[in-house]
Structures are given as C-alpha cells and as structure tokens.
C-alpha cells in the first residue's frame, strides 16, 4: 500500500532579493522591501514528502532517522543561520523561496535514495508557502 510521509523542519536564514540584470529602480519596483541592501530574515519551515510502499517488516515508507539525518547534514547545516546570498548556489540565482525550494529538492533528489522524493514545501512566513515536485504537477 502506497503512503506519503511528510516531515517538517525549521531553519532561519537571511536573504536579499536583487537581480544584477535589473536597474536599481526595477529591483526596487519588483522586490520592494525585499530589495533592502542589508538583507532581512525569515523563520522558514521546510516540509519534505516521500512516497512509497509501506514496508511490511517495519511498517514504514522510510526510516525517519535516515531522513532526519540526511536533512540535518545536507540541508539544515547548509542553510541554518546563513545569509543565503553569500552561498555559492545563490551567487547568480535570486534566493527567493521558489529557488530555495528547487535547490532543496535538487539536494534531496541527488543525495537521498532511501525513499522516493515526492515534493518539497516551504513556508517563508505564515502567509506564504511554496511547493516544488521536480517540475511535475502536484495532484495530491
């Protein structure tokens, strides 16, 4: 039987939304307060969903300890209390939460092979959330 397991994590980071290809006025118009040159921060919530058959011997889709350990090592350690703009992956990519979702999905897809990755969902604030499933439509 196929089930979907979602685990929620939290981290805090800062960023500034700014695109070098745009003029100062355009950046201001597009990004508004998020363009403040000193940056600003968020408490992000990250939800990772994996899917698969429930293994009869363990009753699990995926051992949570394995998923937690991967996410802690490869994602939380990477982004926790960082200024995202200073990280290599955001040198030429604007660190919007859309792009952060895509980057986190990429890290999981490339490195975590103990269950099938279904989607990544991120809350930037309590009012904004973003989902990415590797470009697939999210039907469920």
């Amino acid at each position: 039987m196929k089930a979907y397991l979602t685990r929620r994590y939290r981290f805090s980071a800062s960023h500034r939304l700014h695109c070098d290809a745009m003029s100062a006025e355009e950046n201001q118009r597009v990004y508004g307060k998020c363009n403040n040159s000193f940056g600003h921060g968020h408490n992000y919530a990250l939800e990772v969903t994996v899917a698969g058959q429930v293994e009869p011997k363990t009753g699990m889709v995926c051992n949570l300890a394995d998923l937690d350990s991967f996410v802690k090592q490869k994602i939380l350690k990477r982004f926790e209390h960082e200024n995202l703009n200073y990280l290599e992956e955001f040198h030429s990519v604007v660190p919007t939460t859309e792009n952060l979702c895509i980057e986190i999905y990429r890290i999981l897809e490339q490195g975590f092979h103990l269950a099938k990755l279904e989607k990544v969902r991120m809350e930037e604030t309590m009012l904004n959330s973003f989902e990415y499933a590797g470009g697939r439509e999210i039907g469920r």
Binding site: M1, L5, T6, R8, Y9, T58, G59, R140
Partner: protein, 136 residues
Amino acid sequence: MVYLTRKAEFSASHYYHNPEFTPEENQRLFGKCNNPHGHGHNYTLEVTVKGQVDQRSGFVVDLKELKKIMNREVLDAVDHRFLNQEVKEFRDRIPTTENLAIAIWNWLEPKLKVAQLHRVRLYETQDLFVDYYGEA
C-alpha cells in the same frame, strides 16, 4: 467536485517491535520507539471527503453524519488505547503512523455511504504526518 475536511484528535500509545528481528536489530531500527512499555502521542486526524454539492442542502456531506462515523469507527477504537495490545489490526502489524493511517482508511471507507473518501491525513506530531489515498 468539492472537498471537505473534518479534523479529530485522539491520544494513544504504541511501540515499534518486529518479533522476527533480534533485540539489537529492533533497537537499531526503531530506537526509542522500541521501548516495550510504549509511549504516546496526541494524534490529529484529517478526513477529506469529496463529492458534488447537493443542490438542496448545499452540502457535500452531512457533517453530523461524518462526525458520527469518525467517532464510532475511529475514535472509539483508538482514543486512549495502547494500540499494540488493544487494536486487533496491530496484533501482528507495527502501529506506525503509516499503518495507522491505512487502518483508519479501511475502517472508514466501507462505512462512508454519505460521501466518497478522498484522503486520510494523520499527524503523529506537528512535524510528522502521513497521507493515504487508498492506493494499492
């Protein structure tokens, strides 16, 4: 098609153990969850049903009826219970959140004449939940 979700809360205890594994294997695989005396959670259950809106009532489902079925089929069976010992589904199956979500689907689905069951979402904690859509 309109989707309606009803929430419920219950508290129960469980532990994870597979008698086919050695004690060391059980400990390695299940960690703290292997404590045979059990431990508990406050679960939150979300039951989503779907259907057309009835022209006369404006309802997808009569919530009173849905609530009654959820109380009878699920909460009466699991609320303030030790899942491993008191719920027959878990005599020979580990009461993980995955298996509990599937059991809840199997209890509700045949009894729900009033609407079509779409999803069972079960939160074990605020940071962990399982979705089951009745898929094989």
